[in-house]
């Protein structure tokens, strides 16, 4: 199956693309997705957005599942065609 990780705001500039499409086996979890992306993201996102040792997004970064912000755990099972939105916090404006 394919999932799409879309990067918004500053993260898009850091990654250098609006999204990454990842091929995963059926029933793959969010943990498996992070492990697959880790080599690329730890290079591109830097420490403020990516925790190198834990291989996950830093707490200040928001990850949205079906637009429920913060809806992903390591064991969350992903679905084919799922879009995962990753974005920084807001500020006043």
């Amino acid at each position: 199956m394919k999932v799409k990780v879309s990067f918004l705001g500053l993260l898009r500039d850091k990654v250098g693309a609006p999204s990454l499409e990842v091929e995963l086996p059926e029933g793959a979890t969010f943990r498996e997705l992070l492990d697959r992306l880790a080599p690329e993201l730890e290079d591109k996102l830097g420490d403020w957005a990516w925790e190198r040792e834990a291989r996950r997004f830093a707490p200040r970064i928001m990850v949205s599942r079906s637009k429920v912000v913060g809806g992903y755990e390591d064991d969350t099972v992903l679905g084919d065609g799922e879009e995962i939105l990753v974005f920084p916090p807001l500020a006043g404006g």
């Binding site: 918004l8 705001g9 500053l10 898009r12 500039d13 403020w48 957005a49 707490p59 200040r60 970064i61 928001m62 949205s64 637009k67 429920v68 912000v69 939105l85 974005f87 920084p88 916090p89 807001l90 500020a91 006043g92 404006g93």
Partner: protein
């Protein structure tokens, strides 16, 4: 006193007199300057029952101790008065270049009182104020007014703060404009100027601000620059402006759509956001004086009906004339922004008034004949027509220009339910149903619903508390718990920032300890984080006390019905904040009684026993 010029000018327009009064140093120590010092003046001199558009109201232009120094993003001024929109306290601020020249002309503040017989403008330079005829300027838009005064005085570097036609016609949404369409937008201060026949305040200055510790000030500035450079959000304001927020604010539901009835509009936000602007119509241009962030936009549209070059819209305006009206035409928003700024109306309140009217039209409460156009969602012709009507106080716009509270009261037919305001101030575009810390911020805002006076939602997303520098930890953005304290911290920080006078965006990189260090370096006074926090609380509380003098009660600390209804879509769908709990929690945390009145012991603690 270091950091201040030592003089407040007082102009009596009724008698054509100018006085020069010494800065009240005790007040400066307690209230800093800017909105804080200005609040003290309004509290002392404008009775609560004053008609805001009468000669008895006063309007104060004022800077702070950081303005005109080497500290970045401090070229700001506050305008304090009694608001004709909310009938209570108002401070509204603007950036650009004007504030530096005002202060370096030799003034900390300017108090304007009375009413001139005919239109006038003030010319302030080298420690003097001159009252000059402005009859020939009456009717000019805000850009034309600035140009005409520069030409008349023969100096292209003169800075002008002025009103457009909306202020002249005393439209309650009228703004005060300066430089490249920078706006002291909210609350109708432009109408107060118009009621006094005051068209503009022109300034030019080259004096110096005496600073106690220049090296110390530069060191704090260096640290703040560094913090902003690495700030996950504010660093985006350089390439994409505050409009960058639209790229992702739709995910959490922060950005309202369709008069707050629709929770999410991804497609619209993708067409309107700062990245899209940068990739299509943005051209390089200078930022505000002394700014390293440079969030201000400058756009160039080469062809088509919206062809133009000039200042571009920021986040709130993109919501006002974009998402709130279901208009995803970025070029049309730019055109609408330019029109609103030239006429001199607040883009936030104007957008909300049009959104309100569009919903009335949709429901059949307003007819095409009454509107003078097809007031359908996303209709750019209707949007432009309504801005013109509001700015010129004609047709339906004459009613909408009084704000949605008055308009809904006049229209009736249930329209009060979707007139989204607090105490008459249209709610800015950070949805409190998505980040509930904004519930007490908006409900108790001393100038009405305001994100500039309390951006608490940033702490819900990991920004440090200003008092401790530590994040608040895990917090549920929909919960009712712990939000009052975030609201209080954000409001009190904003009170200090508006008193310094410092850009709110730059202040995102500062906590109270940084502010104390900057204040101490400028003034030589012994400031620390605790004193900064206390000053912020004192200033917010005095503003509240003035509102109470104006007749505000706990019954006015309410939310519009629309914001207590859930949206059907978006990540905050189905969520309704527990308003009653949060408002009482807020009063308790503030040390106010259950009616929202500060207790005597709180006033004593803040040195406000006299108030």
């Amino acid at each position: 006193m270091f950091g201040y010029m030592g003089t407040i000018a007082r102009v009596d327009l009724t008698h054509g007199q100018v006085k020069y009064e010494p800065l009240d140093e005790e007040a400066a120590r307690a209230f800093i300057g800017g909105a804080g010092y200005g609040t003290k003046i309004i509290y002392d001199e404008v009775p609560g029952d004053t008609d805001p558009l009468s000669p008895q109201n006063k309007v104060v232009f004022i800077t702070g101790p950081l303005t005109g120094t080497s500290f970045p993003t401090t070229t700001r001024y506050e305008v304090c008065t009694k608001s004709p929109l909310t009938n209570m306290w108002l401070a509204t601020s603007s950036a650009g270049w004007w504030a530096r020249d005002f202060k370096l002309a030799g003034f900390d503040g300017l108090i304007v009182e009375g009413k001139a017989e005919k239109p006038v403008y003030l010319w302030m330079t080298d420690g003097k104020v001159e009252i000059r005829d402005a009859s020939h300027l009456w009717g000019l838009d805000s850009d034309q007014t600035q140009e005409a005064i520069r030409n008349e005085l023969g100096d292209k570097d003169i800075k002008v703060s002025c009103i457009g036609p909306a202020g002249e016609k005393q439209v309650r949404l009228a703004s005060i404009m300066n430089d490249e369409q920078r706006a002291a937008g909210r609350g109708g201060a432009g109408a107060v100027m118009g009621s006094k026949n005051l068209k503009a305040v022109a300034v030019r200055g080259d004096r110096k601000v005496a600073v106690a510790d220049e090296a110390g000030l530069r060191e704090v500035a260096r640290r703040v620059r560094e913090a902003i450079k690495h700030h996950p959000v504010v660093s985006q304001f350089t390439p994409y402006g505050t409009a960058s927020l639209l790229e992702h604010s739709w995910v959490s539901g922060d950005t309202p759509n369709m008069n707050w009835a629709k929770g999410e509009w991804r497609e619209g936000c993708e067409k309107l956001n700062g990245r899209t602007m940068a990739e299509t119509i943005l051209v390089p241009h200078a930022g505000c004086h002394g700014c390293f962030i440079r969030c201000a936009r400058w756009i160039k549209i080469d062809k088509g009906r919206f062809a133009m070059e000039g200042p571009g819209p920021e986040y709130e305006t993109l919501c006002a004339f974009g998402t709130m009206l279901m208009n995803d035409n970025l070029e049309a928003v730019c055109w609408a922004n330019d029109l609103a700024n030239r006429l001199g109306v607040d883009t936030i309140s104007t957008g909300s008034a049009i959104a309100f009217a569009m919903e009335c039209y949709q429901r059949g409460i307003i007819t095409r004949e009454e509107a003078g156009c097809e007031l359908t969602w996303g209709n750019v012709d209707a949007i432009i027509e309504m801005i013109d009507q509001i700015g010129n106080a004609r047709g339906l716009g004459a009613l909408l220009g009084q704000g949605v509270k008055r308009a809904s009261a006049a229209i009736g037919k249930g329209s009060e339910d979707f007139a989204v305001h607090v105490k008459g101030m249209e709610v800015p575009y950070h949805d409190p149903r998505a980040y509930t810390s904004m519930v007490p911020v908006y409900a108790t805002g001393t100038r009405g619903a305001c994100h500039m006076h309390g951006a608490a939602f940033v702490m819900e997303q990991g920004a440090p508390r200003p008092d401790t520098g530590q994040p608040v930890g895990e917090i549920d953005r929909f919960s009712r718990e712990g939000k009052a304290i975030l609201a209080i911290l954000a409001q009190d920080k904003a009170s200090v920032v508006d008193s310094l006078t410092l850009c709110m965006i730059c202040s995102d990189g500062m906590i109270f300890a940084d502010i104390a260090e900057a204040l101490q370096a400028v003034t030589g006074e012994p400031w620390d984080a605790a004193r900064v926090g206390k000053a912020g609380e004192r200033i917010t509380t005095l503003q509240r006390l003035y509102d109470l003098k104006c007749g505000v009660t706990a019954a006015d600390d309410r939310f519009p019905r629309r914001l207590l209804e859930a949206v059907p879509d978006g990540s905050h769908a189905g969520r309704v904040p527990d308003f009653e709990y949060m408002i009482q929690d807020y009063y308790r945390e503030r040390g106010w009684d259950t009616n929202g009145v500060p207790k005597p012991e709180k006033l004593a603690e803040l040195g406000l026993e006299w108030a």
